[in-house]
Symmetry: C3
Subunit: 243 residues, 3 copies
């Protein structure tokens, strides 16, 4: 199957145009919107999110990952095999955390097809989707040269920052819950929050952190918006207060 992880949003024709390319070139292969609202133009936040979602992506799947504010700029277009899945996307750090956790089995630079259209603003459709279709069909083009994976070595293994704000105002962090302990407190904005098991364990309006369904430390407010109540948004730092 082919999984789409992008910041294009579901509005507009963008996801649909990529799916037309995939359906035409890899007919019969299921295509799933894993997430279309990845952090817009923020490959670092998206990198930690993608790494959290990755373990559930079935082995053998192809992940089309596009968060690419540098489209038309200089980052290399990559196809990387990581833990049995192919990932296709820009070499701007988006795959950094995956590579750090799982290593990279194969790293290639995608070469545009001769004669194919390559617009300046939509490499997702023109370059990455055709590449994902080929990989989904089992074809690793010889014309794509092997290369070093371009590292972002200064990024931390776990990142004490808000990497996604969901529709309820819950704040996902780049911290794996397993990297913390049950009595770790997090300072989020002006408030220190403690760990709880889940929403229903707490009084209404209480802020807390918990291990979310993807293994990340997530800051939430029971029946409220943590983003609003704590005044935090995407990219803002969090402080880990060791127990």
């Amino acid at each position: 199957m082919i999984l789409l992880f992008t910041d294009f949003g579901l509005d507009g024709p963008y996801q649909g145009q990529m799916k037309m390319v995939l359906a035409a070139r890899a007919p019969g292969i299921p295509v799933i919107d894993l997430m279309a609202d990845a952090p817009v133009f923020r490959p670092q936040e998206a990198a930690y999110l993608l790494a959290a979602l990755f373990p559930e992506c079935p082995e053998g799947s192809v992940i089309l990952a596009v968060v690419d504010h540098g489209v038309g700029g200089a980052r290399p277009p990559l196809a990387c095999k990581i833990a049995g899945r192919w990932l296709v996307g820009p070499g701007n750090g988006l795959l950094e955390i995956l590579v750090r956790r799982y290593g990279v089995e194969d790293c290639r630079e995608i070469v545009p097809e001769a004669g194919a259209r390559l617009t300046a603003s939509f490499h997702g459709r023109d370059l990455f989707a055709p590449a994902a279709a080929r990989l989904a069909l089992g074809d690793v083009p010889q014309a794509w040269p092997e290369r070093e994976f371009p590292r972002h070595a200064d990024w931390p293994d776990d990142w004490a920052a808000v990497i996604y704000v969901d529709g309820y105002g819950n704040l996902m962090t780049g911290l794996r819950a397993a990297s913390l302990t049950a009595d770790t407190r997090l300072k989020a904005g002006w408030q220190e929050v403690e760990k709880a098991r889940t929403f229903s364990d707490l009084p209404k309006g209480q802020a807390f952190w918990y291990e979310n369904s993807n293994g990340l430390a997530e800051i939430a407010v029971n029946q409220g918006s943590a983003a609003q109540m704590l005044g935090l948004k995407l990219g803002n730092p969090i402080v880990v207060i060791p127990s």
Copy 2:
């Protein structure tokens, strides 16, 4: 086919993660987002909406219905066969109106698979999606014990309340249009509205009710927002004024 009726929204990874489970476990079975913006955390409103959409769900389909504010709490996870379709979801009243209208052929409590992950916050992915995949493949696990359907007997057959507000501000009610007559008036907020056939029959800005495409009485304003104009929102009561 498998139909998703949830309150997860299309943002975030939630629908996508359920679809990955379904595609991996029930390959080749089509999966359709019937609705991802069912009334959030409101199983009663959602129950009337699901019952209105149900007649069009093809016989033999499996409906994954998750509106589950008690996730991690005590409601039983159910698989119910109703009018030739399997429904999978929380036993919190979400299936009450369906059971009342069609009866229940088979009611079982879903038992988590031995050794499977079961997070506190995402039973849609960890419990209900795997169950739906098994049913879609024709497998009704013997390990799921039969049980009584947990009734919500105090809910009315038709509910004079706003059960959904669409993107245009139209107000769906829990009243089947067939339960009313052509000269029934509805009191919606401070205004009484009469029945009309459709939008184009009325002057701009006029409020009215009509039988919507799912058979429900829906309150609307021609080229305007009924929700704004009448000051109504999800769960608000409506008054039926008999003719």
Copy 3:
């Protein structure tokens, strides 16, 4: 494959209900949301947008195009074969620009199936989706009479107006970039903007126009919202200042 181009939005059950009809009647045929947020109730704006997206729709595909403020009114329901694709939708001008650019190989009026439900408010599900399913299966019903395509001859070939505002506030126009020259300026609201290659060529906050990924002239602001900065919205005119 069947492509959906509608103004229904992804919220609510509307896209899902059409997909249930398609999956039941044309099993195995892939269905793709090309765009669900086409200009609401504005067939003229939508016509230029659809024409821009059309060249990428694979030959042999069926396009279900519904932007239909006159639903329940008098416009004829059409099935038109244009450049090797079938298009199904209301005869309200939505297909005008396609017909003008490619001609029409076959134009028929869709006749509802005998005995089928036809609600006043949801022809997308009740009339157009069943028609699209038949065409996708290769069945062009003899019962659908041939007819003249109802023209909107007064619409220009390229339209100097905003036809879509995307989530970033970028303004697509109904002007094909190929109809302009590299030194054409566009007057958008109170400001004249020049052509640039892409976003990264410009300082932050600078307005410009560029050829977007669908070949249209699009007005944008680097790292800002052109809609807000220029005070423009859907349907507003643009002025072409020849070089």
